[in-house]
Symmetry: C2
């Protein structure tokens, strides 16, 4: 079975064993004579799947009962709005502006500003340096309903190693592009959310993990009210059942290989191989500042647009897909999420070396 | 391959050939070495899929360019809110209350009433008779931003045969449970929307078909603005790519078998077999009034809760799933959407006859 080394920023590679399992069960899940796609979300079969998915997540992230897990739709982009609707209290909210998606979350809040009476403070920003590094954040912070961050900046290739934690201020984090890539302490967060198409499974599922006391603060239209979905175990309306099933298979896989400690080890090793080469290369230059580098999205360029283009074409001819960087940054981006194999990283570095020799 | 006769109201059965195709392509779509699940939504591969899906829909429903097709998330339940945000002008809006989901759409508008300055009129309702029939609607109607209906009442088993069309009032229709089951004139509608998990594919995809002049009427938060998604060809953010792929396969199948004329013929025949038997049975009684009956959801009971329960168990022992009626109606419900085979209906009637003889 030919498997392309797909460096897409998302939707992204899935573990081959997950795809094989899904393939095997496609027409007959566990002897039911039905595909998971065809199952009533109210059936006992699907109930087992969604409960297992939640159980897996709780085990992987050490999540206690005081956090609720919601399986929603709409992507992180929809959560940019619904988090405001759900978490706003005094109206004073803080954002760290560390890249494209952090800025989008901020812009969503700005859209809601008048209707929700928000006072939005950008308490740290690295916009000035083109988001090449993570911004320095204040030593103290108080009086905010929440502080919003994006833990990994997919487009720019930067990632928080430690989190800005302030007593009394719920930390709200878009973790779309690095959730389940490393261990962290869930209790540092008020709410975490993530689109599933990078490390959790496939597009169409949005995960929200929220501290219980942050539910029910506001009168929110039911479809956007996290409390309604929490009370209904994510089934206020029909959830995206098949993406939840794939998410369950992905978390099964993570547990099988040894959980977050093991995947973190692998992710560090994959990134090390790439960054080590980039640091010694005389052709390729890494884009992000060294101490802000992401383990998930490795951005780099040759400094020459034409040569970048040639290299992108060269990787495509050699079994790779989607190494082209985002148009706002240019150059290349290797997204090496959990499911991207170390063999792919090694093969990529070999190819880069060859290209460097030839150019 | 054992295939269960799954009478679920949704998610529901898919054509076996669709599942087989998805199974075959699971690890390698068209020689790409990637699963559709893993493909960047910005890739040319996925672009072909979403364009084909739109092309298929336009062909099946004779949709001209003055209607836009959107592939969204959140289910019909989310559209209950977003349709108000997008279509509201004067604030005077009309609803027909013909069943559970029609009422839910109405209740969503009521939730938004104060914030959006709505004046909501229920211009027809069959609530009084327990939604056993479709309500009579007025001969004339004017001065409304839109009239909202639900074309098929999934829970109660009633279905509009003709639509309440008033000049100058956009007809907005939740068609979740009967879209693509029969031909209709798209030009009679201002907007149609549908969750995909009954006749369009699987949960996680919501289809919106909207007349161009109804886009951009209001200042709507971007994630809920139909115009934003129309301008971005449904890719303002990552769409639910795999559900769109399944939808494409389902519409491929419909075109292959002969389009809506053919499926309508089959659906009429399936419903006829069931209703004919129900009309002559001395044990089972159909729930919906004769002239309001749905071709998609056939509701009935024995009039005896214990016996209903026995019959539900009896069908399960004999290869059927999900015939239990919704708790608000009780009894049984056979959802026989497009992909439910005629053999399944014949087998069900045989089983009902046998049960009738024994009881």
């Amino acid at each position: 079975m030919k498997r392309t080394f797909n460096l897409s920023a998302g939707p992204a590679m899935l573990p081959t064993s997950v795809l094989e399992r899904a393939q095997k069960e496609m027409l007959d899940y566990d002897g039911t004579g039905m595909s998971v796609m065809e199952m009533s979300h109210r059936s006992s079969y699907f109930d087992d799947i969604i409960q297992d998915a939640e159980k897996n997540l709780r085990e992987l992230l050490n999540i206690n009962d005081n956090y609720k897990i919601l399986f929603l739709q709409g992507g992180a982009s929809q959560a940019f709005y619904t988090l405001v609707m759900n978490l706003k209290q005094s109206g004073k909210v803080a954002y760290i502006d560390s890249g494209n998606f952090a800025k989008k979350a901020l812009e969503a809040a700005e859209e809601l500003k008048d209707d929700y009476g928000l006072e939005i403070d950008v308490v740290a920003s690295s916009k000035e340096d083109g988001y090449k590094s993570l911004p320095n954040y204040p030593d103290t912070l108080e009086g905010y309903d929440y502080l919003h961050i994006c833990s990994n900046n997919t487009i720019e290739g930067t990632q928080f190693k430690e989190f800005p934690i302030y007593k009394g201020i719920p930390l709200v984090c878009d973790m779309s592009s690095d959730i389940l890539s490393r261990p962290f302490n869930i209790n540092d967060f008020g709410m975490i959310y993530a689109g599933a198409q990078k490390n959790l499974g496939i597009a169409g599922l949005t995960l929200v993990i929220i501290r219980e006391d942050l539910l029910g603060l506001n009168d929110v239209p039911k479809m956007f009210d996290y409390k309604v979905f929490s009370d209904k175990n994510s089934m206020y309306n029909t959830p995206s059942t098949y993406p939840i099933y794939i998410h369950k298979l992905v978390t099964d896989w993570l547990l099988e290989i040894g959980g977050l400690e093991e995947i973190y080890k692998r992710n560090k090793e994959k990134a090390r191989i790439l960054y080590d080469y980039l640091d010694e290369s005389t052709l390729f230059v890494p884009t992000a500042d060294k101490d802000s580098r992401s383990l998930m999205n490795v951005t780099f360029s040759t400094g020459n647009d034409e040569l970048d283009k040639e290299f992108v074409a060269y990787t495509k001819e050699n079994g790779f897909e989607n190494i082209k960087g985002h148009r706002s940054v240019g150059g290349m981006r290797a997204s090496i999420y959990n499911a991207f194999p170390i063999e792919g990283v090694e093969a990529l570095v070999q190819l880069m070396k060859k290209f460097e020799e030839e150019n």
